[in-house]
Symmetry: C2
Subunit: 475 residues, 2 copies
């Protein structure tokens, strides 16, 4: 077993998520009592929305100690329940082997879910442990024939149809099938804004990501009269706004779920292909087309073009760049093939941990971690793990010194201008964070760039270094 230390539990749960997204199998977190587990909850929220397999192992006091109500006593089951689809407290050394297998099996149920096993100290230190027999997870079920038929009918109807893919339908065999279906029927493929993992780049099946901003997403979907969901939720806005509906589809759009996130979405897509019984068209892959390297003053389009120009083949991009990175996907769609991982649950502070997990899972691939400064501050301890493990992660911090998304969200509420005190809660300068020092403090070489040439140079060096590095981009 490879043990990877994080200096804060949010790093650990986020890294387990990143590992699972790339490996389709669970990592195990080892957390300490109720508060230690609580520190990992925010990224468990994100992981639960990513439908990844994960096993949490939580140490607990023995029962005979718990009754004294010592300082670290807490009701761990109560803390764990909201995000654990499977939850158990081990009762004996004899049983804990069996419990562990069941936790792993449970975590691999459906597309994946969070399983939490609480292990009292006396269960851990007692003799009599038994290595349990492995049992395999039940394969997730196909949707019913009528659901598949209905989807096929919709695709044959001639009405403008969108297919919103998530989970395993966004890479590998699943995306390939979806690509052929789209090419054969004229349907358009979308990915949700909260992106688990998308295979993209030159030659890949074209998939359009939903926009974050409600009005822009409504615009994306307005031409469609039918929407088929594949392991995806119906598209809605992150937040509610006074007097606005949260739904992104037009009222005339019929929404049909081909497969839930718990069903076999890849098998469902194969079944549709068979049901359509049309000649399989090969999709036209994205055209290889890198932007040329820009130079001069830092601009968001310039940064995106630089990434598009330099992204290495087979890279993994972890994206929590928030308001600063909204042009990144457009600029990289013709770059060499790569995977794109996003924030699935909206709880910020996932990028650095997710990059740790992806890099542990895929040591031969370059990981590019795009993060906003406000988000990165949540779990900056992840940099230390990158340094200790020598992970190939190039982290780019977009330092706009704002919770810019909060300012935007505030403006959407239509309650007027924020006063000075409210703005002070949105602005994270005064003092400015110095990411080069923060990074060095954790053992990761860092550099600050103030021009696009500087950014390109630092990015290239980061990719070539074979280890972790950090680039602070002053915006």
């Amino acid at each position: 077993m490879r043990c990877v230390l994080g200096l804060f539990e949010g790093v650990v749960t986020g890294a387990a998520d990143g590992y699972a997204r790339m490996m389709e199998k669970p990592a195990c977190t080892l957390l300490h009592l109720g508060p230690g587990f609580a520190n990992g909850l925010a990224n468990l929220h994100n992981a639960s929305r990513a439908h990844v397999p994960m096993v949490n192992l939580i140490g607990q006091h023995p029962n005979y100690h718990l009754r004294h109500n010592t300082p670290l006593t807490s009701d761990i089951e109560a803390i764990a329940r909201p995000y654990s689809k499977w939850l158990r407290t081990a009762s004996s050394a004899q049983q804990v082997g069996r419990d562990s297998i069941e936790a792993i099996v449970a975590s691999r149920n459906a597309s994946g879910q969070i399983a939490t096993l609480i292990v009292p100290a006396d269960v851990a230190w007692s003799e009599g442990g038994v290595v349990a027999e492995w049992s395999s997870s039940p394969k997730s079920a196909l949707p019913s024939t009528s659901v598949i038929e209905r989807s096929a009918d919709m695709l044959r109807s001639g009405l403008r149809t969108a297919i919103l893919l998530s989970g395993r339908a966004l890479y590998g065999q699943g995306l390939a099938a979806a690509g052929r279906i789209a090419a054969s029927t004229g349907a358009k493929l979308f990915a949700p804004y909260p992106l688990v993992r998308l295979e993209r780049g030159a030659g890949s099946v074209p998939v359009e990501r939903m926009q974050y901003v409600l009005e822009q997403a409504i615009e994306q979907l307005k031409e469609f009269r039918q929407l088929i969901l594949v392991a995806a939720e119906s598209p809605v806005a992150y937040f509610a706004y006074p007097g606005k509906d949260s739904v992104m589809t037009s009222p005339e759009c019929e929404i049909h779920a081909l497969a839930t996130s718990e069903e076999d979405s890849v098998g469902a897509l194969d079944a549709i292909e068979a049901a359509l019984s049309i000649r399989r068209a090969r999709p036209t892959g994205e055209r290889r087309n890198r932007p040329s390297l820009p130079n001069g003053q830092i601009t968001l389009p310039g940064l995106a073009a630089t990434v598009g120009a330099l992204l290495p083949e087979n890279a993994i991009v972890v994206d929590e760049s928030m308001t600063s990175g909204r042009g990144m996907m457009a600029a990289t769609k013709g770059s060499p093939p790569h995977d794109w991982l996003g924030n699935t649950g909206g709880s910020i502070g996932i990028a650095l941990p997710l990059a740790v997990g992806a890099a542990v899972a895929c040591p031969e691939r370059s990981v590019l971690c795009l993060t906003a400064d406000g988000s990165a501050m949540y779990t900056l301890q992840a940099l230390w793990t990158m340094a200790r493990e020598g992970l190939k992660v190039t982290t780019v911090v977009f330092a706009n010194r704002d919770y810019a998304v909060l300012k935007r969200e505030f403006s959407y509420l239509g309650v007027g201008d924020a006063g000075r005190r409210a703005l002070d809660m949105f602005e994270i300068g005064r003092p400015d964070l110095d990411w080069v020092n923060l990074s060095k403090g954790m053992g990761v070489p860092g550099t600050r760039v103030t021009t696009l040439e500087g950014f390109a140079k630092a990015l290239q060096e980061g990719f070539e270094s074979g280890g972790p590095s950090l680039i602070e981009v002053l915006l």
Copy 2:
């Protein structure tokens, strides 16, 4: 209202705890949805054990948005329940003023507790808010006469008696009364290892803190045949050990609770004094006696003596120095009067946030924050808040580059030596954290010291600077 921004919610809840410990009234945290609240849980665990008043205000989606199960949807009540003694979701703009008053009142019940008010966005943005009338919190009740009489009888019995004080019995009027009782009856005063707030230093009532290590604590208590608890729990070990009892008192010791943490402990002590109807003796305060300034190589006793020699009058010491700081209290007991705040719940990562809250509460006092490196990494974002608010906090990081307490706890289990993989989970060097860079990165000037003279100079400069500073002590 003064708004203080933290860049991670654990900073915010820990700061609210520190504020409440010094002010005896609640600070209000403003947290964002379920995951934002979850990030604050570990320090809420500590706060719940400190019995401080605190109000959490948590933003939630409107109900009509929640039903879409958007990415940030979670069951906030389920996440909040384990640590909220009062919990409500506001239902309308008309009622939310009333809800807020009730939350504040509830938080001030008894000695103090955590009250959580969840406010859906539409409640916040709707018209019709009503400023509710203030209502005062019910005063916490005195223990029954028979309980007070029994305590008085015990104190009159001539048996060796210890009094374990916590909460408001450890400072001000409560400690003064306890001091007179002890001086009159020969009882000895103790404070628990998990220390909320202790008034101490030259002239103060002598109180001995319970030791962390089980055997040492048993030794402290073994002579006592009676133990009276005042707002304190019966003393037990943090952790359980194979074949050992967790209890620190001897089997012959009678334990009697004069007042629970929910009762009026100060009033109870006054009542005992009256019941004893003996001539009030004035306690002999701790003798003014500073250690002389040591020099040369860094040693733990040398560091403690330096703190003892230089601690300013009326300082607030926040102590999460773990294994490195166990000599600190002995070395400072004759220093000028000061308050000592500890970690009450055993969830590490409270020191820096607690120091923020104490400094906001008492801007005229010097705050000395003693922290281990492993602990400080949990919530290092607090340094930024110290810089932004210009708080008078001198932070000392004891960099032993180990979770030393875990190594010790592991050795107590008697399961043999830890293997290399286990040790890798206990040792936080490779790479070494550079606290000077981390501190600078957050806008707090930092320095590294390698001699006792250097430590003394940096400490003196920190106290005199009138703002935040950080000293990394290489151990």
